[in-house]
Amino acid sequence: MTRLDCERALRHLADPLAGPPDEPVRQHLHSCASCAGEMRAFRAVLEAAADFRQSDVPDPGEPYWNRFLPSVRARIALRQDAGMPSERHPRRIAAAAVLLMILAAYGALILHPPAPGPDGAAGSVRAGASLDEAGRRVDDALRRMPAASGEVAADMLGLDPFQEIGAGEILDAMKEIERPPSLSGSWAGLEDDELERLLDRLDLSQTLELRAELAAEKS
């Protein structure tokens, strides 16, 4: 037995799945207890691994597998909407229009909640009524919004596009958006830098037409 024989046997141990050892290695394993022990130990580990392999990944089940391809397709479609210039632009504009409607509906209410009335209750009643009206306008806007725009809008707001989006979710997401201090229910009240910040926040930097439109409104 030589050190070379042991090294050769150990090299085989590195690839036991490739098949049985060749004749010289087999002969060496017969005469070298140390290498034979190594071989047995490695085989025991790999046999345990083979057994483990049968049970270590639970099958999520047929309904999951049936949903898998549609989910991949939906994910691809969403990215295409967001990333392909030829389709992206009009859809983003549509989504932006919806967001503007939402902002118009909620903006004043978020930034300037009605002051309480003299009895402390009338203000709450007015606020409730305004919120209901704004909610109706948002729901109406969402109903009329093309599905693809809804996904883009959801993306802009950081919402899960596969969840049904209602006025409540939109409002919660809108609250996360930086509020320009001078917004008073109209885009026209925004300062240039505030408008820039808000547009950046909404990821509308590429919707140049919208910017032009807003600039025209301001002037």
Binding site: A44, F52, P60, F68, R75
Partner: protein
Amino acid sequence: MDHQADQSPADEELVRRFCGGDEASFDLLVLRYRKEMYRIAYRITGNHAEADDLAQETFCRAYTALRTFRGESSLKTWLCRIVSNLSLNVAQSARVIRRDAATVEDLARAGAPGTLQTPVGDTAMIRLETNARLRQAIESLPRKQKSTLILRAFEGLQYKEIARVMGCSTGTAKANFFHAVSFLRRELKDIL
């Protein structure tokens, strides 16, 4: 493997058709490899939600990049590379909540996996304990050794393919596998 049928077109043909505009060919590739990609992601992350996300992400990236696929490796190897890299990145971050990690005691209380009413005998208990220890040992392997072990021992890839997936030489892949098995051997010495 999740192949539809022996007569279904080969990967190369499906890739060619997809590049020619046939979207349905991509769907066939997803159906063919979805389970393997999920399995690899699950084995690396140990978490269904992550494995689901990563397997889907693998096909999304493949969809975008397939037109640049040059066929230097098999499509399966190429997909394995995507899913392995994505999974290793996720597993390395702290985002993954580790797998269900049932203890032997949990399993004993519950019966054999999937059969809640079945009592667990000694042999089954030993097997469960071995599997639990093995799982723990695999999860504590360095990331490259872990991936190599998974791809070789569980997915049956050849070293040449693993080398392509891992971006290393065949010799390095063999060495990683050897070190991984040596580590498992040390960790499980008392029960194997």
